[in-house]
């Protein structure tokens, strides 16, 4: 049961959130994207063992989406940043 630091509400139990999976997936231009690019966007994931940039939604709280960088093995939370921001450098 992780303690997730919502950028708005502060530390809350993970059960209040839903995880939206990998972050920073760019939706390609549907007019020009190839089938492969579209499949890549829809389905292909890094799914890394280690640091993962991901999206979370505070469903039972402020109902805001935000970004989080978390270690998928230790569950250490390394960074939390706005949904409009790109991944912080240091956390690679």
């Amino acid at each position: 049961m992780m303690l997730i630091p919502c950028p708005w509400c502060g530390d809350r139990i993970d059960a209040e959130f839903t995880c939206g999976g990998e972050a920073h997936i760019v939706r390609p231009d549907p007019a020009t994207a190839s089938d492969a690019e579209w499949a890549d966007y829809l389905f292909m994931r890094e799914n890394p063992k280690g640091l993962h940039h991901e999206r979370w939604f505070h469903a039972h709280g402020c109902r805001r989406w935000f970004h989080m960088t978390r270690d998928t093995v230790s569950h250490r939370i390394v960074a939390v940043y706005a949904i409009t921001e790109s991944a912080p450098e240091a956390t690679g």
């Binding site: 049961m1 990998e22 579209w38 499949a39 829809l42 389905f43 994931r45 799914n47 890394p48 063992k49």
Partner: protein, 415 residues
């Protein structure tokens, strides 16, 4: 030495001194014809059928931990074949058939026990889904029958079929040929047989890199040094993405923790397997007496074999609803496995853009039942460099073309 009652009797007075090793601990050779990554049930079955069906025995199965220690060793052992779509039904049915004679085939009792699996319906929609699946199964030659709450109560007297619970049991579907098998025995039996064929099962040997030249695999890097082979079959379950990334590929899977648990052992109270999607719990009783319980995945990517207690709580709330006598039984142990979930809840058994590199993954919460079948078709795919009819549809290309095999209905709750 053959496993038999006769040999057990002969060994008894000798204190069982003469039983040989079930498998060797070979040192890795420099090269093999085929390397299988992952000594789970699927990897071992692949090696076994490569030898048995295709005469390929210069095979190494590389395992980063101990053989059978992945999801094969931590699943709730449900085996059934009543899937919705033809592609899945045929594949799982093939596997179920192999299970039916696996003990004899391997000369290792895997305790396949066709004690029946019931899927419960708790609302009209569930009933519709089960009926649809039932019609499909019948036409696919897979046994399947709808059962009424009364019949379910007769089969499993501990269930509560009262209409007054939150989600009453409105009916169910039963596959009588389905049931359980002993998870460890499946891995061990396959390992022993593959080893007999000369397959090298190399434990504590983690693959850390995949060597590719001109778009073809040439071997792997491991914690025990490089090993060469021009055909590599990866069967790493929860670690599929990790292996794929070594070959420069991304996969349409995400790794999640799936938990299971056992109660303290009690005398038999349940002789069948019962699953419920709506109430999110499934139950069976092992031969040792523990109730083996499972539910859904934790909702975020994880490579930790440990999940949250909230999932367990919710599952047990449902369990108490359906089986009120369990309330005073105690949970003895809870564990987790890392499952690789594909968007359509169907596996990927496929060639890849890298020549000689084959991938078998995406079994998610339900691949134990497919162990022999998956190995069988994957061996074929590797040996012939093309898929077998049974796994043709389970290719990577389907994500690009859009022909997914959506088994969420039949696979929703883990099993």
């Amino acid at each position: 030495m053959k496993y038999s009652l006769w040999n057990l009797l002969r060994q008894a007075p000798r204190g069982h001194r003469d039983w040989p090793q079930a498998w060797r601990n070979p040192e890795p050779k420099e090269s093999y014809d085929v390397i299988i990554i992952g000594a789970g049930g699927h990897g071992l079955a692949t090696a076994y059928y490569l030898a048995k069906e295709h005469g390929i025995t210069r095979t190494a199965v590389l395992e980063k931990g101990w053989l059978g220690g992945g999801n094969t060793g931590r699943n709730t052992t449900i085996v059934r074949s009543n899937y919705l779509w033809d592609e899945s039904a045929h594949l799982y049915e093939h596997s179920l058939k192999l299970f039916e004679t696996l003990s004899q085939d391997l000369n290792f009792n895997v305790m396949f026990s066709p004690r029946g699996v019931i899927n419960l319906a708790h609302n009209e929609h569930d009933l519709k889904e089960l009926r649809r699946r039932g019609h499909a199964c019948r036409l696919n030659g897979i046994d399947y029958e709808m059962v009424t709450p009364r019949e379910i109560k007769e089969i499993a007297p501990i269930i509560n079929v009262s209409r007054s619970i939150r989600y009453p049991v409105l009916g169910g579907a039963m596959q009588r040929r389905a049931g359980n098998a002993r998870h460890d025995a499946v891995a061990w039996g396959l390992a022993r047989r593959a080893d007999e064929y000369g397959v090298d099962i190399i434990q504590n040997c983690e693959v850390t890199g995949i060597d590719i030249r001109d778009g073809r695999v040439t071997g792997v890097q491991t914690t025990r040094g490089p090993i060469r082979a021009d055909r590599i079959g990866a069967v790493p379950a929860g670690h599929a993405s990790v292996i794929a990334s070594m070959a420069g590929l991304r996969l349409p899977v995400e790794s999640h923790t799936l938990q299971a648990m056992v109660t303290e052992p009690v005398k038999p109270v349940l002789d069948t397997v019962i699953m419920s999607n709506t109430v999110h719990v499934y139950i069976s009783q092992s031969d040792k007496g523990e109730l083996v319980l499972g539910a859904g995945i934790d909702g975020y990517n994880s490579y930790g074999q440990k999940g949250g207690i909230n999932v367990i709580e919710h599952q047990l709330e449902g369990l108490c609803e359906l089986y009120p006598i369990v309330s005073r039984l105690k949970i003895m142990r809870v564990w987790g496995g890392i499952v690789d979930i594909a968007p359509d809840a169907s596996p990927i058994i496929s060639k890849t853009p890298v020549e000689g590199f084959y991938i078998n993954c995406g079994w998610g919460t339900g691949g134990f039942k497919a162990t022999p079948g998956s190995g069988w078709v994957f061996a074929h795919t590797i040996a012939q460099d093309r898929p077998h009819r049974l796994n043709e549809a389970f290719n990577l290309g389907r994500f690009e073309s859009g022909l997914l095999i959506d088994e969420h209905g039949a696979a929703a709750v883990a099993h």
